[in-house]
Point group: C2
Chain length 410, copies 2
């Protein structure tokens, strides 16, 4: 394997106020190349001595690529560029082309901070500029012996664009082939221990050929597989695993439940409306995260107060009194009525107790009823989820999407 | 300062499939102690040699605390515990108390995986057990010379509970005082460069006493201040900064716009209803993320299709025809009508083009109209935000909350 290192720079990363998503993004993209592998991942303060000694340490290892992100912004605490200038003992030069571009791009900003724009257009004399289409700081490439060092702004949108548009096509793609080294099997509705006990024998038999990792999360367990020898037929192994756990598998790799459900709705021309109580708009938000959601999603009523359940969803007041708002019957009425009123194929509803208050012996915090009504089906299920507000809402939405997936037989 | 190190272990962290939020969480909590400072943050593969050499490296530095997270789960790729057993050359012992607790806790799980529960109850003979109230893997404390090494599961909920309930109260709080070392001033509606130019002179004058960092983000810029000498009156410096940028400041530290707005609504007894088009439930979701949101939030109509705008929000069909769904007039009608129909004090609406399709010369992707109607006010504003679906929706919701904040004069 050819080794790659990623350095993320920023006081806020080391003190934990900001979560380092950049190094993960870079690593994920590096993992797409057959021979490239991230070997070192380091988080550093805005401290020039620490930065210099880490670069020194990594250059000695003769890695093929080093990615350095962060600390290229316009303010005084952005010290990466000057630190590198010191380290490589070179000059700073103005990139006239970028400077002109920025002057045009920010012409409408009044007052135009020309000094700042000029600074952002300067690069190390030993470097090659990498354009920044989404922000002001230029990226840089420094070729040092066998190592390509890329210096990239820490703003995720700028970094992602710079990598995708310029770095990968010019400096990685010509030299390294891409290969699916990993397949991630997405499961939901089964515990990690149970999944492991079902798969243990396959894993053991294939121990020398394939690696299997379990990544549990509140919404399910991801099973990630990779081949240990270069020629491993990963897709066969995937199929073998999936055949044992089929009903829990909802997708692969970057699939998400909402995209999978959305695609099926679009393909089959079905329309959807939602009546939400405890999830308070979260399920609708998920369903509209997907581009072209207007093809299947008509609208929702977030019926947080009982008055709205009665007035706008036509839930009988008597039902709310006898059964309570958090009940099988009210969930069904909500789904059925939003389906009829919005004139759609599928109505879904949620009603539950997310907490922190509102729990009772009859309905403890964590309970949720989810109903789905279609032309031929009426399903309502009760779940007791993690009794913490944010988890409860998040998992509740995931469970509702999974119920819809199972009903659509995806 | 007394130094702390954090090691996060997991293949999925190094290849970027999982983002390391644990080390950030620990670092943020460590930063609350006056004398403690995270000095090293390392991410490692599930590779026993790498784990051993990193522990070796950090133990030589004689740090006060080392936190090791991840790799304590029940499956074959969880190697942290066995690696440490090798490193410290000790035995593994069963913690009977935890084993009994787990047997009771998981009695309802059929089949009960006794072997797995037993494994999860074993700890290193040289360690002290740290209870895990939220999961199966026991935590451990190993005292090695001057260093306390904490080994904690990588599941965030388990880690957070273990740290808060057991580690901090028993092993940190008795020895170290807490102090607000940082104040974060939250701003929105102003660019980083402009903010910096306003504050540059104060920052320069105080350069030797206070450190100021700018943390830009799509929803605003955070200004984080800290004192360089131990006695620095941080709150005075904060007030000096805030006085220059008052109208952009919406809160401090962990405040969020939705909590700030929610608290004001609760205090003033005002109620709210929402009519969402392009944000598709996201604004309602944000307003109900806050506990006790039923005190002010009545409900919403997510009127994604024009039919719902007409039928359930009473937007005149003629208005939709002459002005289009994405217009000042329709935004106002939506806010006004949801306010009347839901009988609340405040009606808010959003209508716009989040993309990727639906843009036109009249209304390009990125445009959004947001309206707020109260008894005395009618405000509608047009914004052109980042024309990428997820950013557009996220920023749109933030801008709507900020408009509400300004209207409520918070």
């Amino acid at each position: 394997m050819v080794d790659v290192a990623v350095i993320s720079i920023g006081d806020e990363l080391i003190n934990g106020f900001t979560i380092d998503t950049n190094s993960a993004w870079i690593a994920r993209n590096i993992s797409k190349y057959n021979l490239l592998d991230v070997e070192d991942k380091i988080i550093l303060k805005d401290d020039s001595n620490k930065i210099k000694s880490s670069i020194d340490f990594l250059l000695k290892k003769q890695y093929r690529f080093i990615f350095i992100t962060g600390g290229l912004g316009p303010t005084h605490d952005d010290i990466t560029k000057n630190t590198l200038k010191d380290y490589f003992d070179c000059d700073m030069v103005l990139n006239e082309e970028h400077f002109s571009t920025l002057k045009v791009r920010y012409a409408a900003h009044i007052p135009l901070n020309l000094e700042s724009i000029k600074n952002q257009s300067k690069i190390l004399s030993i470097s090659k500029a990498i354009p920044n289409d989404k922000g002001t700081a230029l990226g840089m490439l420094i070729k040092h012996k066998k190592t390509d060092i890329f210096i990239i702004p820490g703003v995720p949108r700028e970094l992602e664009c710079m990598f995708t548009q310029y770095i990968a096509p010019l400096y990685i793609d010509p030299y390294y082939d891409k290969k699916n080294k990993y397949i991630t099997i997405l499961t939901t509705g089964i515990y990690e221990t149970k999944l492991y006990s079902i798969l243990k024998s396959i894993i053991d038999i294939n121990r020398n050929r394939f690696k299997v990792s379990f990544l549990p999360d509140y919404t399910g367990v991801k099973v990630r597989i990779s081949a240990l020898d270069e020629t491993g037929p990963l897709s066969f192994f995937r199929d073998e695993i999936v055949s044992k756990i089929k009903k829990y598998v909802y997708g692969y790799d970057n699939d998400s439940l909402e995209y999978i459900v959305a695609n099926t709705l679009i393909d089959s021309g079905l329309t959807l409306a939602i009546a939400e109580s405890c999830t308070g708009g979260y399920l609708s938000k998920k369903m509209t995260d997907v581009p072209n959601s207007s093809k299947y999603f008509i609208g929702s009523v977030v019926a947080y107060s009982n008055q709205i359940k009665i007035k706008y969803l036509g839930v009988p007041e008597s039902l709310l009194k006898t059964e309570g708002a958090v009940s099988r019957e009210v969930a069904l009425a909500m789904a059925e009525n939003v389906r009829n009123k919005f004139n759609v194929d599928i109505g879904i509803s949620t009603t539950g107790i997310s907490g922190p208050s509102g729990g009772s012996i009859k309905n403890p915090i964590g309970r949720i009823y989810i109903a789905i009504v279609t032309k031929n089906d009426k399903v309502v299920k009760k779940f007791d989820l993690i009794p913490t507000r944010n988890y409860h809402r998040k998992i509740g939405v995931h469970v509702a999407l999974n119920m819809l997936r199972l009903l659509l037989k995806i």
